[in-house]
């Protein structure tokens, strides 16, 4: 049978179980005396073993089998976790993960599991021999009162096929079959021996009643895997097996199917093009002024919108799929660095477009590393500062309007603004006379490639790579990142991301002869320029909107478009968390759905574009990046 079709499913499900193993091990580590996680661990490893054996992945099966064995002993023995044991189980889990990943791509040979297998076996041996599962007492007495005297009835001797698995179970089935023919007694060895792994498949019993030899033999063979049967001393040659498969009627039914992610992306692209064509159709319908064409255009719009919603829904993925690997990572880092960290994850069920979620792993990893390495102090230092020796890091996802905010918060030492300021002055990033850094300036300095104030560069982070990587990645995704840091209290990074990347509603603004799209995700409102009195705040032109200072960005100037803007023109007010900015454009051309196309900006392009789109009339337009305009 062709197993390759199951490899993808095997991988997905194994990953899920191994991720669960991490959570369970962490849970067990937190409260070693509570054995509740062990049952879950045992089941997860057991499931992986069964799947791997079916796929023929010997190494995965081997490691899983030894780990399962150890877990079974732990589960039954009721022993609390020791640090040594937990380390071993973490190692075994990691080895399993590696073996699973390599096996699926046909590189199983590259992984060496000998050491972890030996350690698992060693640990299991220390815990004592494998106890047998408790099972109800069995014996002839149990099966009704009419036990014939020993010796009565015909002696039946059975040998099971050498290759038969779990011979004890098979032997018991033989006994059950025989019982349907006549009263059975004098089972040798006794049924309790069937439960032992050493049972070799040879056994005998006596059967009463009136059944003939042929009937008894047929009955015994019906249990399957029977090599020899001798009834009443008269030996029978093994007959041909009757176990032919029923004729195959290839009528396969399935209610759910698995879809390649690439196919989902392609579908999204196609819908995107459909949305573009729909825009064109709407424009044509508007100019044709024909009610019949209008009707069709409205129907096409409705149907394509439904289609689009369905596809976007199919792409939505809960954030735990990325978050779930972090508890383990934070734990390992904290151990390595001698820190005590309680790590909490909130909002695991919040959903994001798969494409965005896939890109989030690295930035989050950088931020979490920074939090453990630079944020959280050593237990001794924390005590000196009157804090709990155990620091706290929270990774949280929260849904906000059309975006999702993901934050990494630590209660560590906070960023030393003075140090950053000195460095920023030296590098000429801020005015040499600047007295303090705002949070925004702080982020801008930190996000400079290669920036670092860490005195000691550790292996973990501290080379400054990290924040710039995170900031760039988030910006490419059409999101924003902000920082809040209080010395001695901790640092929080908040990333805001659109829920989906592919199709967004946008304001279309005109500047000169060009059109630009501004995703509505971060548009708070639009106001008229000219009506509002402009003022100068911190050297920047701004308007005051309901007591809030909104700095202005003149798109015409920014893009180097010559000529003057109309005297009265709209301002698009952008809002991202606590930051706002007003973008001055020539005119507003309405709202529409745009399909975001990836866009490799040529070197030197202003960092204010996040992509491009094709308008209804087939002319491309650039998409403005709200993050870059703030």
């Amino acid at each position: 049978m062709d197993l390759s079709q199951y490899a993808e499913l095997f991988l997905a499900e194994s990953r899920e179980h191994l991720s669960a193993c991490n959570q369970l091990l962490l849970e067990w580590e937190r409260s070693p005396a509570n054995l509740a996680p062990v049952g879950g661990l045992f089941r997860a490893v057991h499931t992986v073993k069964g799947m791997a054996a079916t796929m023929g992945y010997a190494r995965v099966t081997d490691v899983a089998h030894r780990a399962e064995n150890l877990l079974d002993l732990l589960r039954r023995g009721g022993r609390p976790a020791t640090d040594e044991l937990l380390q071993l189980l973490f190692r075994a889990r990691d080895a399993l993960e590696q073996a699973v990943e390599l096996s699926v791509v046909g590189r199983e040979d590259e992984i060496d599991v000998a050491e972890v297998v030996a350690d698992l076996d060693g640990a299991a041996a220390q815990l004592g021999p494998h106890p047998l599962a408790p099972s109800p007492p069995s014996g002839e007495g149990e099966r009704g009162g009419e036990v014939p005297p020993v010796g009565a009835g015909r002696l039946v001797q059975v040998t099971l096929r050498a290759e038969a698995p779990l011979k004890g179970g098979r032997a018991l089935l033989v006994i059950k079959k025989a019982q349907a023919i006549g009263p059975v007694h004098a089972v040798t060895p006794s049924e309790s021996a069937f439960e032992a792994d050493e049972f070799d498949g040879r056994f005998s019993f006596r059967i009463g009643g009136t059944a003939g030899t042929a009937e008894i033999e047929r009955g015994v063979r019906a249990a399957g895997d029977v090599e020899h049967v001798t009834v009443g001393g008269e030996e029978r040659r093994p007959g041909t097996g009757a176990g032919a498969a029923p004729s195959a009627a290839p009528e396969t039914k399935s209610r759910h199917i698995r879809v390649d992610l690439g196919r989902l992306d392609r579908l999204m692209d196609l819908i995107g093009e459909l949305v573009t064509v729909r825009g064109r159709l709407n424009e044509l319908a508007a100019s044709a002024r024909d009610p019949a064409i209008d009707d069709v255009a409205i129907q096409v719009s409705r149907l394509s919108r439904e289609l689009q919603d369905e596809i976007i829904q199919a792409r939505m993925t809960p954030v735990w799929q990325v978050f779930d690997r972090f508890p383990r990572l934070v734990r390992d880092l904290a151990r390595e660095l001698g820190k005590q960290v309680a790590f909490r994850v909130e909002g695991k069920e919040i959903e994001l477009d798969r494409a965005i979620l896939d890109e989030l792993g690295d930035p989050l990893l950088h931020l979490l590393r920074n939090a453990v390495d630079h944020g959280i102090e050593s237990p001794a230092e924390r005590r000196r500062r009157g804090k709990q020796p155990e620091g706290e890091i929270v990774l949280a996802a929260v849904r906000e309007r059309a975006s999702v905010a993901i934050s990494v918060r630590d209660d560590g030492r906070g960023i030393d603004r003075q140090k950053v300021l000195e460095r920023a002055r030296r590098d000429g990033v801020v005015d040499p006379h600047a007295e303090a850094l705002t949070d925004d300036q702080l982020l801008r300095v930190l996000a400079r490639p290669g920036f670092s104030t860490a005195e000691a560069v550790t292996s973990v982070s501290g080379r400054g790579v990290g924040i710039d990587v995170a900031v760039t990645r988030i910006r490419v995704l059409g999101g924003s990142i902000e920082i809040r840091s209080v010395e001695g209290k901790g640092t929080t990074f908040v990333m805001r991301l659109p829920v989906t990347l592919a199709i967004v509603r946008a304001l279309i603004a005109g500047v000169g002869a060009e059109r630009y799209a501004l995703p509505l995700t971060y548009v708070a409102e639009t106001v008229e320029f000219g009506v509002q009195a402009t003022t100068i705040v911190e050297g920047r032109e701004a308007i005051v909107l309901r007591d809030r200072v909104v700095p202005l960005v003149h798109l015409r100037r920014l893009l180097g478009v010559s000529g003057d803007a109309p005297t009265r023109c709209p301002i698009i007010v952008l809002e991202m968390g606590e930051r706002t900015s007003g973008v001055v454009v020539d005119g507003m051309l309405g709202q529409q759905e745009i399909v975001v196309k990836g866009f490799d900006a040529p070197q030197g392009t202003l960092p204010v574009f996040s992509g491009a789109t094709i308008m209804g009339d087939g002319v491309p337009a650039l998409i403005l990046d709200a993050g870059g305009l703030l």
């Binding site: 045992f42 079916t54 109800p136 049972f199 498969a245 009528e251």
Partner: protein, 120 residues
Amino acid sequence: MSHTVLVCDDAIFMRTMISDILAQAGFEVVGEAETGSQAVEKYRQLKPDLVTMDIVMPDMGGIDAVRAIVKDDPDAKILMCSAMGQQALVVEAIQAGAKDFVVKPFQPSRVLEAVQRVLG
């Protein structure tokens, strides 16, 4: 008319594989269960001709599910799906009323043989 089957296993992988093997042999997989208690409930609803039952499942294990199903329907035809090294559990399952068992890794021919024995 083809026989109806209820497939019980906590791994989608295993359920898919068993379902495929059975469906290709002309059986109709009418339901799937991920836990023992789901298996018991679905058995009551669907009254399938055959049940394939994993031993280790969360919530309620396969053996307890066999007990519960057989208590309701002593003629229930349940085929245990076991892994190597589960001798004692298989014995327990048969004592509880399971009619036969197959051992992972599954070979389609052996699964179908066992199914024939159970239904025959």
